[in-house]
């Protein structure tokens, strides 16, 4: 069954806290990636062969900026303290993926004709786990 993207919930918390806080994201992208290595050798028969090396994931969460939003405070403080956060990316609001990450960038911006926004980018510091039934 398809999922309407507006159901998506993206949360973060500090590693010392137990409560997850929802990021006010307006569009969110979780990217699962891996290094594609060429392992072709003399025994290969006419075509190159590949293997996956180290895997990685990252999260980009463009969000509306709100000074009273706790998740934004958690992200900014994690960046300031060089500490990890625990994030959850839940496409249907309850099930999805989770893992530990660092806040690589926290970019505030806003055009005079629009709303103030903050683009948050997380870079993985753990394996990506599943939450519920994915």
């Amino acid at each position: 069954m398809s999922i309407a993207a507006f159901n998506k919930v993206v949360t973060i918390r500090s590693t010392t806290a137990s409560t997850n806080h929802e990021l006010p994201a307006t569009n969110c992208t979780l990217t699962l990636a891996g290094d594609l290595l060429d392992d072709t050798d003399m025994s290969s028969t006419g075509f190159r062969s590949k293997t996956i090396g180290l895997q990685d994931w990252s999260l980009a969460a463009p969000s509306n900026y709100d000074v009273s939003n706790t998740a934004l405070t958690v992200a900014r403080q994690a960046w300031q303290n060089r500490s990890r956060v625990f994030m959850q990316y839940l496409p249907n609001g309850t099930a999805g993926f989770s893992g530990y990450a660092y806040v690589e960038t926290y970019t505030l911006s806003g055009d005079v004709g629009g709303l103030e926004t903050v683009d948050i980018n997380l870079q993985a510091d753990s394996a990506l786990s599943t939450v519920g039934s994915t």
Binding site: A4, H21, T26, N64, T70
Partner: protein, 146 residues
């Protein structure tokens, strides 16, 4: 919580509170919502004109309104001054709550338009505004302030 007012209602009340006009006045600058009465000549009417799709996850709406000003017979300068006053009152407003709804900001798209003189010769001008607002209540949506 109560459902949010129409943006036109909130804006008309705000313009009234700022002394731009008086809601339902029989003389002077009469403020109205969605209906322009034939008298008095001097009328400021606020219309809801749709806008952009609201956010389906967060409590954030993007409605638009039109303010239409009708002046005295051959009173173009007075009508223009009044719609300029409307513009100066609404454009760039700082965050405020109107009628229980949090107004994040108001922009203008385009500038003041002269539409026409009506049958008695009263000038009609309009100005259109883009609103960002966060209703205090909507069943399925969430507040940013969590």
């Amino acid at each position: 919580m109560a459902a949010p007012n129409s943006p036109a209602d909130d804006i008309a009340n705000y313009l009234s509170s700022q002394g731009v006009g008086t809601i339902g006045a029989a003389s002077g600058w009469a403020l109205g919502v969605s209906f322009e009465a034939d008298s008095p000549h001097q009328a400021i009417t606020v219309y809801d004109i749709g806008g952009f799709a609201p956010d389906a996850h967060w409590l954030l709406d993007y409605p638009q309104i039109q303010v239409r000003v009708r002046g005295d017979v051959n009173g173009y300068s007075g009508a223009y001054s009044k719609i300029q006053e409307v513009k100066d009152t609404l454009l760039g407003i700082t965050q405020t709550t109107m009628g229980g709804t949090y107004y994040v900001g108001i922009l203008q798209f385009g500038d003041i338009n002269f539409i026409q003189y009506d049958e008695p010769g009263r000038p009609i001008l309009t100005a259109n505004f883009q609103i960002f607002r966060e209703p205090s209540d909507a069943t399925n949506r969430k507040s940013f302030s969590t």
